[in-house]
Amino acid sequence: MSTTPDTQPRITSVAEVKAALGDRIVDSFHKEDLWLRVHTDAWKSSMRTLRDTLGFHYFCFLSAIDWMPSPYGRGEDDPTEPAPERDTTIRQGYAGGETRMQVFVRVTNPVTHVSVIVKVDVPDDSLAIESIHDVYAGANWHERETHEMFGIKFDGHPDLRNMYLPIDFEGFPLRKDFPLLARMVKPWPGIVDVEPLPGGDDNQGGDDQ
């Protein structure tokens, strides 16, 4: 490699992030990347600390996850038959969670190239959290998109207009209980691609190469 990335040492370590955020962290998970879950009340102040104290100036993205498994499965049911019963028990991912919806954001320190993924629970009853658009200006559009796709409200956001959908669109497309309508009107033909080959059960054999 021709150039060195930076002359400054990697000052930001996992322990340092945890120390700076203190008891605002509910849970954390570390595997190559660092996942943190912060208290809903401390969401904005945590992001501010990350930016100002720890130098996470680069805003990568903000989005949300709906942890309820889809009652429609993977959209491969025959629409002419009654829908099968599915387990829709909510189970969260890394760094845990208590609510169905979680907002997560990824920010990076552009000097040390250390990144952190911060998750926050969105209360089930109000479905609203603080907006961080005045901490990270780039979050403005990402929050608009998340509001449109998940129906999560961001308190203090100046302008939660729809970005993609018509203004009279009903429903929140990326929620798991929003059906993919194309699969509701016509069975998915692609299912044959993943069926086991006839007569053979050695599916673990690897490729010809």
């Binding site: 990568c60 990824r106 690897g206």
Partner: protein
Amino acid sequence: MSLTDRVLGDRQQLAYIASQAADARLNVELETEGMTLNIGPQHPATHGTLRIIARLDGEQVVWAEPACGYMHRGYEKLTEVRTYPQVTTLVNRIDWLGSFANEVPFILAAEKLMEVEAPPRAQHIRTILFELSRIANVSLFLGDLGVQLGAITPVFLAFRDREYVLNLIESATGGRFHPNFDRIGGLKDDLPAGWIDETRAVMKKLRGFCDQIEDLLFGNEIFQSRTRGIGVIPREVALQYGLSGANLRASGVDWDLRRDHQLPMAWNQADWKVWTHPDGDSFARCWIRLQETRESTKIVDQLLGSIPAGPVMAKVPKIIKVPEGEAWVSTENPLGEMGYYIVSRGDLGPFRVKIRSASFNNISITPWLLRGVYVPDIVTILASLYFILGDIDR
């Protein structure tokens, strides 16, 4: 007071005052009045269908807002009903000028969860194809740039020379625009015979193309006066809005994911340079892209000489089930940082995929950036930010 406010340039503050004054005048004088200008949805500067709504006071923009959504295809929802190998077909179409580069981070993220790694030969060929798609993408940008500023010649040169690269991609993958060549665990096929020599010849041509464009455009006085000092993005603002790729490096941030991230790719085996520019204006952004195209041809040249022998596919099961977990992988795509956040539940398909595309962040700065500029500069700024609509709307 937020950081953005602090670094608001004088010009932007003046424009804000002008907007207030324009509103007041509208009601009082009725001699000058604000005008709303729609640029697009169909406009050559938008690489797709993007509409810019600009409110003007005379020749100055007082407020501008891009309206996207004309091409939203809902890929994040669609991935939830597809299997992992099927997703690459979708993500090919995000940034349609550099399709192969879209597949790589998704495949890498899936491989990270499965804990498999492509064989060294596959990593090498992946990197070469990745850089070829960057060259195809950015060479069109360089040509298009001329058209948007009123110079006709560069676009013909660009289309001519991009064709050589597309032919290479086609002969290796079978697809000119949407290769769908990357597989979890490696690549679909090995390179065809004679491909390496042909690629070397094309890289030489492309370096000639870069020289030509540099002479025609970058040395041109009109081009310089149209781009220098226009649309200046300070470093802090660029970081806050999450600008990436050449847009970020043009604001003086020395950050390239190819160099600074540890990925199972072959970039670290070539000798190349990350260019930055301190100015942060439109000229800097265009200039960085020109230099990057040159560096890409160098990377390809060096990697062509050192492709290791061996298979191009690791041992992976025929039916791919990705273990439970979450993974994020991003790469330095032609437009900037492109990444996928995959949540897996051990199923045939992903539970949730968040697609972080570069143009979405890059274009979100326009309401801030266009405030206070003059009408002809709107096109310059949009062209130099370089976005592709499929990459905004996904």
